[in-house]
């Protein structure tokens, strides 16, 4: 397949990154290709960090569609001019490496992957701090052996990524989609990981514009008990009540279902805050200090709600990276959509 063909197909399919940020794939590919024109070498990274609690779709894809994922990487390698791609990093969390390394190696023995086989290198995601270790610019630092921290953007990885060279980094599902697109088999579907208080937890595949309510119904997970959901991860996902499910699932499209009556309000907030406090890399002031202070506050019986939301607001407004900036998502939406509290700042 020619370069123009593949990029055209990706464009026509309207493919968006499945790692959470939903960035158009064709833009990223073109940007890396453009940067490679004036550079001798570049890198491809498969991001299989999947560090967000309550998201398990990449594991499922690797388990069931390994060949497609590798084929996606192969297509990227050839689109970006194979001899310019110095290395291809498979960046996996520890469990996935253990689970899939043998199978990946075996798969790579196939003739089809001959051109990328020798360029493949495994890289294990550090377990602490684990969340930021899935962020793309932090991954660059990690592979380069630097302190685990997000980088300032711009420059973006597609221009100056690993070792300052153009770097294409995509999520597992994205490479899978690319493989489908190349065969004209992509039909706009995506993976949903459904878990929590449901009858049939697991990974499902539906059209990406399907309303959340339908996703729950069709997967046999809709319940008559009063519930609310968190969409896009158990940490950073947005909280919606059961009347708000007429929209499609965004971000990583995982759906966590909470039983409203049996969920302890404070415990849930505490869970989120503890997660962020523990996972903050410590690079920027507001995330390092803010997540800590919020967690300290919620641990007490009484806390100053105005101050609490001043900090939450500043996390949204001034965080260095998406990690800190995502804490306000579950907090705000939970207060607004489920607790129906007016936020005073």
């Amino acid at each position: 397949m020619t370069k123009t063909e593949i990029i055209k197909r990706i464009e026509n399919a309207g493919l968006a990154g499945r790692g959470g940020a939903s960035f158009p794939v064709s833009w990223k590919w073109k940007s890396v290709a453009e940067s490679l024109k004036s550079e001798k070498e570049g890198y491809i990274i498969l991001n299989a960090a999947e560090g967000e609690p309550g998201v398990k779709k990449d594991q499922y894809i690797l388990d069931n569609y390994l060949n497609e994922v590798l084929n996606g990487i192969l297509l990227a390698d050839s689109y970006l001019t194979s001899n310019k791609i110095k290395k291809i990093f498979l960046y996996l969390n520890k469990d996935y490496l253990k689970q899939f390394k043998k199978r990946i190696n075996k798969e790579l023995e196939k003739k089809a992957f001959k051109s990328i086989k020798d360029k493949i290198e495994y890289f294990v995601k550090p377990s602490y701090p684990g969340y930021i270790s899935g962020e793309e610019s932090a991954i660059l630092n990690i592979i380069e052996g630097k302190k685990i921290r997000p980088r300032l953007k711009p420059p973006y990885p597609s221009c100056k990524g690993l070792y300052s060279k153009p770097t294409l980094m995509q999520n597992v599902e994205t490479f899978y989609d690319i493989s489908l697109v190349s065969r004209n088999e992509y039909n706009g579907q995506r993976f949903y990981y459904i878990n929590g208080n449901v009858k049939k937890p697991g990974v499902y595949r539906f059209f990406s514009d399907l309303p959340i309510e339908e996703v729950l119904k069709r997967s046999g997970n809709y319940t008559d008990e009063s519930f609310f959901v968190q969409v896009g991860g158990q940490a950073s996902g947005e909280v919606l009540n059961s009347d708000q499910l007429f929209v499609p699932a965004e971000s990583t499209a995982s759906i966590m279902v909470y039983n409203k009556k049996r969920t302890d309000e404070k415990k849930l907030i505490k869970f989120w805050l503890r997660f962020y406090q523990k996972e903050s890399c410590g690079n920027c002031s507001i995330c390092r200090e803010g997540t800590y202070r919020l967690y300290e506050m919620i641990k007490k019986d009484e806390y100053d709600k105005k101050l609490f939301f001043e900090i939450v607001s500043s996390l949204k407004e001034t965080s260095f990276c998406a990690l800190g900036a995502s804490l306000p998502v579950p907090i705000y939406s939970y207060f607004k959509n489920v607790l129906k509290e007016k936020i005073v700042e």
Binding site: Y128, P129, K147, I148, L152, Q277, K278, E279, S280, C281, G282, N283, C284, S285, I286, R288, E289, G290, T291, Y292, R293, D304, L307, E310, I311, S313, S314, K316, E317, T318, S319, F320, A325, E345
Partner: protein, 612 residues
């Protein structure tokens, strides 16, 4: 060639039109236009890290606030610097940083300059809403020079980067989240050389000189001894910055008066000591030139951080270092012997306090080799910052001090002494005196020869004028422009007498490594640990940037130009003193020193004990 056209970019700030230049950040533009934007981690000479998150501004069309330090201006950008949104976020971020820092503000010696404290006031922070989460952190003490107090640290990483820029990399940011802390690396092949660049780049004095100000203040107040001060060349062109003077202004007169007001009994000028150092060093150079077995190149040794560097990282260069002591030690020797004798004071009753642009001098004064009759020559060292603190803490109205008091002794420092504070200055000073020493030596040798041959030299001195003119020629050049300036490595070649000398001048320790492999091609190498020399020293006012250092440098050359005597050997008072030190039976212990291979420093950790 046509000058490159600078593209102007229109932006609107708080409703008014401004023109920025391409590639400029919002912060740079706002600073240039005089906006008051708070910032802590920002330093013009360091990378933009954007981790303090307080320089945020609102940019139209952007979902969140933007850190002005890391956002470039774009044509048509609408920026709001003090909207409610901006103030609200800044306020909480400053409060959070302050909460991890506060505890010593009441008696901190940096409290008159501290930006964080200033912002806390400016933004009317509530300061008791959070507990001090870092109160049980450690303080790392590096010798007697510098310390890193993690209880005050705001994790901006400037110290780590400054240390890297020196090529030392002794510091690292360890761990993550709220457990992030700055600490020394465990690598046994690395050591701290006490240059203090960490302290100079710390916005909140968590990295700081080890405090002597309070001790000195106490000594001045309970007056059991004769406490004297001596000021280094580089202090006078920098101190004024803390009192609103322009960069590089010489505030020497006020310094004298302020020191007298603080209660110092006598005030001396280290420029005088620098002239002694020049003589010792120039004589050594002349000696090496006539010694076939001499080690080349000769390298300067007045920078104690550089000496520490050699002793640990490159002990093979120890014999290259001049044996000359550093100017404030020479000056102190003159005070405690020559001056004490003249004034009939028991040297044991004199306490010498050096006021230095340097943190490494705090450790240098402790060196065994520099003791005289078992006692330290310099008793205490204050940095320029500590001196500024003493002036402010004692409520001395520095700006309204004019008349210079207390210029009684050792005031005759030459222009050569003055430029010691700038990179290239030590070498230039020596070069100004080398021809004189060379001629003197030749003359003495000739006379000796002639005496031996029994000839008389009646022919000489027939025509006084000709001799004078010849002498002037023999004095050699006065200004050596090629050794001046801010470049990290400067190279020059000068002709002294019949000899061509190859010179190299290094400032900023990182630059020395690239020069070491090719050292053999030089005769004389000057090294200063801090960029730009002592004027960029670790004890200087904050901020110190390359741009500011350059202005301080101009200040020093200005002093030199105005001096009637610009060569060390023309300083009569000094020459008299020098001769007396030279004739002393303890000559070697007053003028020369030794070096030895050293081990990695032992870092002492304390659990945050206040100095007194």
């Amino acid at each position: 060639m046509k000058p490159k056209q600078v593209k102007k970019i229109k932006v609107i700030v708080d409703g008014r039109l401004y023109y920025g230049v391409e590639n400029e950040t919002i912060f740079q533009l706002l600073k240039r236009k005089g906006f008051d934007i708070p910032a802590l981690c920002h330093h013009p000479d360091l990378k933009v890290k954007a981790n303090c998150r307080i320089c945020v501004v609102e940019v139209s069309g952007c979902e969140t606030l933007k850190t002005s330090c890391s956002t470039k201006i774009e044509s048509g950008m609408e920026i709001y610097t003090s909207s409610d949104r901006v103030i609200k976020a800044r306020k909480i971020n400053i409060e959070l940083l302050y909460a991890s820092h506060v505890e010593k503000c009441v008696n901190c010696s940096y409290r008159f300059e501290c930006d964080l404290l200033k912002f806390a006031r400016q933004y009317r922070l509530k300061i008791n809403r959070f507990s001090d989460r870092k109160k049980n952190r450690k303080t790392y003490k590096f010798g007697k020079a510098v310390e890193i107090d993690d209880t005050q640290c705001i994790d901006c990483n400037n110290c780590v980067e400054a240390c890297q820029l020196q090529g030392i990399s002794f510091l690292k940011s360890d761990n993550y989240g709220i457990n992030t802390e700055i600490k020394p690396v465990s690598d046994k092949d690395k050591t701290c050389v006490y240059c203090g660049q960490c302290a100079l780049h710390c916005p909140v004095a968590a990295a700081q000189e080890q405090d002597s100000a309070i001790l000195v203040d106490k000594m001045l107040k309970d007056k059991k001894k004769i406490v004297v001060a001596q000021i280094a060349p580089a202090v006078r062109v920098a101190l004024g910055e803390n009192f609103g003077f322009k960069y590089g202004v010489n505030v020497e007169d006020r310094i004298y008066t302020a020191l007298k007001k603080l209660g110092f009994d006598y005030v001396f000028d280290v420029n005088f000591g620098a002239d002694i150092t020049t003589m010792v060093e120039a004589e050594e150079l002349v000696e090496r030139l006539s010694d076939k077995k001499a080690v080349w190149p000769m390298m300067t040794s007045c920078c104690p951080a550089w000496v520490n560097f050699v002793e640990f990282y490159h002990p093979e260069l120890i014999n290259n270092l001049t044996t000359a002591r550093s100017p404030h030690i020479h000056n102190a020797a003159a005070i405690k012997t020559y001056f004490a004798k003249k004034k009939e004071i028991n040297p044991k009753d004199i306490v010498v306090v050096s006021i230095m642009p340097c943190t490494a001098k705090k450790q240098e004064k402790e060196r065994e080799e520099l003791k005289y009759k078992g006692r330290k020559l310099v008793d205490e060292v204050l940095t320029t910052r500590e001196f500024s603190y003493l002036i402010k803490d004692n409520k001395i109205d520095f700006n309204n001090l004019s008349k210079s008091e207390g210029r009684e002794y050792f005031n005759s420092g030459s222009g050569a002494g003055a430029i010691y504070g700038a990179s290239g200055g030590v070498m230039e000073s020596a070069l100004r005196s080398v021809p004189y020493i060379l001629n003197k030596k030749e003359k003495e040798e000739k006379e000796q020869e002639e005496k031996e041959k029994g000839k008389n030299s009646k022919k000489k001195n027939k025509n006084g004028n000709i001799v004078k003119a010849e002498n002037a020629k023999l004095e050699g050049s006065l200004e050596f422009k090629s050794v001046r300036g801010m470049k990290g490595i400067k190279e020059a070649e000068v002709k002294i007498g019949k000899k061509k000398l190859k010179l190299a001048i290094v400032s900023g320790l990182k630059n020395i490594e690239s020069l070491i492999p090719k050292l053999s091609k030089y005769h004389y190498v000057e090294v200063m640990a801090c960029p730009g020399g002592c004027i960029g020293g670790g004890g200087q006012p904050i901020p110190t940037t390359d741009e500011i250092v350059e202005k301080r440098m101009k200040g020093l050359y200005g002093i030199d130009k105005k001096r009637e005597k610009r060569r060390a050997h023309l300083n009569k008072e000094m020459m008299e003193c020098y001769q007396s030190l030279k004739n002393s039976e303890n000559k070697d212990k007053l003028l020369h020193t030794k070096y030895k291979k050293s081990k990695r420093i032992v870092v002492k950790t304390t659990k945050d004990i206040p100095p007194f």
